[in-house]
């Protein structure tokens, strides 16, 4: 909110002592969370962290560089499958397998970025969509990847410890999420990040100013794919079992929805979007169990619609949220946050 007078002030993570205090509070809360909440919420927290990584990665591409990608489920799948394959087939340690799988995803992101140099708008959407679908289909048919039956993830051996419960995985996933989010935020403050933003605002003008479009556009795709690959690798361990049907087109749309709901072009927005939408996704799966609304919905279903299809209310609510947010608040949750903050700070003017 305050004016930054030089580059050093701009890249500082926390501006004041108050912010440092809240930051340490956040870290304390994250560390103590598993000890005070029931087990299901730790699984939810793991899932949220993974979605935060994906959202941050996708936001780098969509929010900061202005490209469209409807195929990120493909990178997610590549991350998951290659992590599992590297661990079971080549017996690599976990971190190395994860990073290598993410690099494979980044390579495919680079390849996807090449046609993106010439395409824009709906044409780019279709190219990325086709890529996402192609990845899912290839994985589904190739026996190396377990075919339609999928693969079971091995046990997660981390420096000799076997991380079997959700809590133990939580203490692995949260630091990784933290580092990656911090990395993304710092990336956006460097010249690479500024090149991305320039490309979003006007790529012709950026090119005349000396931004190498080829390099930076493909780099944006590669970085975004790297993030999604890491998230995919972690997802394989949270879920315990991966099969091609989880990585479908709907998942790509969900990722895009997370970004939009959180807010395009803001890391904080991505975190909020990832957390809120994951919570919504997991809660809506059990919509029958809500206190009053659940019974209302069930009686409505029995009279007018089929009861077995009730979980599809989740789809309706998701779609409505996306539409309403895009129509009324293009900046998403981050927009609400900023407007509240400005209103609070500038009251009574």
């Amino acid at each position: 909110m305050d004016m930054k007078r030089d580059y050093y002030e701009d890249i500082q993570l926390l501006d004041s002592k108050v912010l440092w205090f809240w930051f340490l509070m956040l870290i304390a809360a994250l560390v103590t969370l598993p000890f005070v909440t029931p087990k299901y919420y730790i699984y939810m927290a793991n899932y949220m962290a993974i979605n935060v990584i994906v959202t941050v990665g996708l936001n780098i591409l969509v929010g900061y560089t202005g490209q469209i990608s409807l195929g990120h489920a493909g990178f997610f799948a590549i991350g998951a499958y290659f992590t599992v394959l590297f661990m079971t087939g080549l017996h690599l340690p976990f971190l190395l397998a994860l990073v290598l799988a993410a690099l494979v995803a980044a390579f495919f992101g680079f390849i996807l970025g090449l046609p993106a140099l010439r395409l824009e708008g709906p044409y780019l959407a279709i190219a990325t969509l086709g890529f996402g679908m192609a990845i899912t289909q290839v994985i589904g048919r190739w026996q190396l990847f377990g075919g339609r039956m999928g693969l079971e993830t091995p046990s997660l051996m981390f420096f000799g410890l076997d991380l079997a419960t959700d809590t133990q995985r939580y203490f692995l996933i949260i630091p990784i999420t933290f580092l990656m989010t911090l990395g993304a935020r710092n990336l956006m403050k460097t010249r690479v990040g500024r090149a991305f933003i320039a490309i979003r605002d006007s790529d012709i003008a950026a090119e005349t100013m000396g931004v190498n479009l080829t390099l930076y556009k493909t780099l944006a795709f590669a970085v975004s794919a790297f993030y999604t690959g890491i998230a995919g690798g972690l997802f394989a361990f949270v879920l315990g079992f991966i099969s091609p049907s989880t990585f479908n087109f709907i998942l790509s749309i969900y990722f895009l929805a997370f970004v939009i709901v959180g807010g395009l072009g803001s890391i904080f927005g991505s975190i909020m979007g990832g957390v809120v939408m994951t919570w919504l996704m997991l809660e809506l799966d059990k919509v029958q169990e809500l206190p009053y609304i659940g019974e209302l919905l069930i009686s409505f279903s029995e009279n007018w619609m089929s009861v077995s299809g009730l979980p599809n209310v989740a789809s309706i609510i998701f779609g409505l949220i996306i539409i309403l947010l895009v129509v009324f608040e293009p900046l998403g949750l981050y927009g609400f946050w900023i407007r509240t903050k400005i209103y609070w700070k500038t009251w009574p003017f």
């Binding site: 469209i68 044409y123 086709g130 048919r141 309706i316 779609g319 996306i322 539409i323 895009v326 129509v327």
Partner: protein, 290 residues
């Protein structure tokens, strides 16, 4: 076998061409590719099914009822949501259409469930005629004829009727159209209604071949979209031709090379074509001026 593949390719190509036409009509006027196209068609097909099976109306009444529903749905969606978008950049508009898609999919799954049903159709898929070594079913013939008839009607509509010319004018320059007295908002709603009807026709022609469940249009939508992109999203003729080309190539690939990777080759071809001709095969490439 070659002839058989070509014939079934033409038949599927007609469906893709119809979806591509519906997509391009919307793209030309609203500047957004309508991802909700498939679900709009699917819901209209379900309405036709309900009218036919649950209420036992005649074929004509059910189909006309479904068309009216489709038109109302399209106009409503444009009126309620697309027009209100404050930030008309392409990503927001695509997301609005994706939101429709999710809402409509949820409503259809909720109301009709995931059971697979059979849409009774006046023309059967099982009566066939022999054309030498190949067979062609009555349904394939009906699909081809209906598609060609629709394309002819659209051509005449856009060239000779006032509303059609108004639509073309709105697409070319909305401000100038308004100055000339054309009510652009109404024209946009009509465009969406028309596109929705075409989509509903595609859905109803597809339903006898594939099973009628909420996932009916997921795959054909993507193929239709891909063929619109292949042919060029700014020309109607191009989109239709793209549909046929895609249908034929896909079937030939499936027949001769590999049935499993049929869908992938469709997208592979699209990406390849887009690398060399970014606006599609038949469209003029508009270079953005600074």
């Amino acid at each position: 076998m070659f002839l058989q593949l070509i014939i079934s390719g033409l038949s599927f190509g007609s469906l893709y061409a119809l979806i591509a036409l519906a997509m391009v009509i919307i793209y030309k006027t609203s500047e957004v590719p309508n991802f909700g196209q498939g679900e709009m068609a699917m819901i209209s097909t379900f309405v036709a099914y309900s009218l036919l099976v649950s209420y036992n109306h005649s074929y004509a009444l059910s189909f006309v009822g479904a068309f009216l529903f489709a038109a109302a749905l399209g106009a409503f969606l444009e009126f309620a949501f697309l027009r209100r978008a404050k930030d008309p950049n392409i990503l927001s508009l695509i997301l609005i259409t994706l939101g429709f898609e999710m809402v409509l999919y949820g409503v259809a799954s909720w109301k009709w469930g995931a059971d697979q049903r059979n849409l009774p159709f006046p023309v059967s898929d099982f009566d066939i005629i022999n054309l030498g070594p190949a067979v062609i079913s009555y349904l394939n013939i009906a699909t081809l004829l209906i598609t060609l008839m629709l394309m002819l009607l659209l051509f005449l509509f856009f060239r000779y009727t006032k509303v059609g010319i108004a639509m073309k004018a709105t697409q070319q320059n909305a401000m100038a159209a308004r100055i000339n007295g054309i009510r652009t908002n109404r024209i946009l709603s009509m465009t969406w209604a028309m596109s929705s009807i075409i989509g509903a026709v595609a859905g109803m022609l597809l339903a006898p071949i594939a099973t009628l469940d909420p996932n009916l249009m997921l795959d054909p939508l993507l193929k239709g979209f891909a063929s619109a992109v292949l042919g060029g999203m700014t020309t109607l003729v191009g989109a239709a031709l793209g549909g046929y080309i895609l249908g034929i190539i896909e079937n030939l690939f499936g027949g001769y090379v590999s049935l499993e990777f049929k869908s992938i080759v469709a997208f592979g071809i699209i990406v390849l074509v887009l690398c060399f001709k970014p606006s599609g095969l038949f469209a003029r490439h508009y270079v953005r001026k600074v």
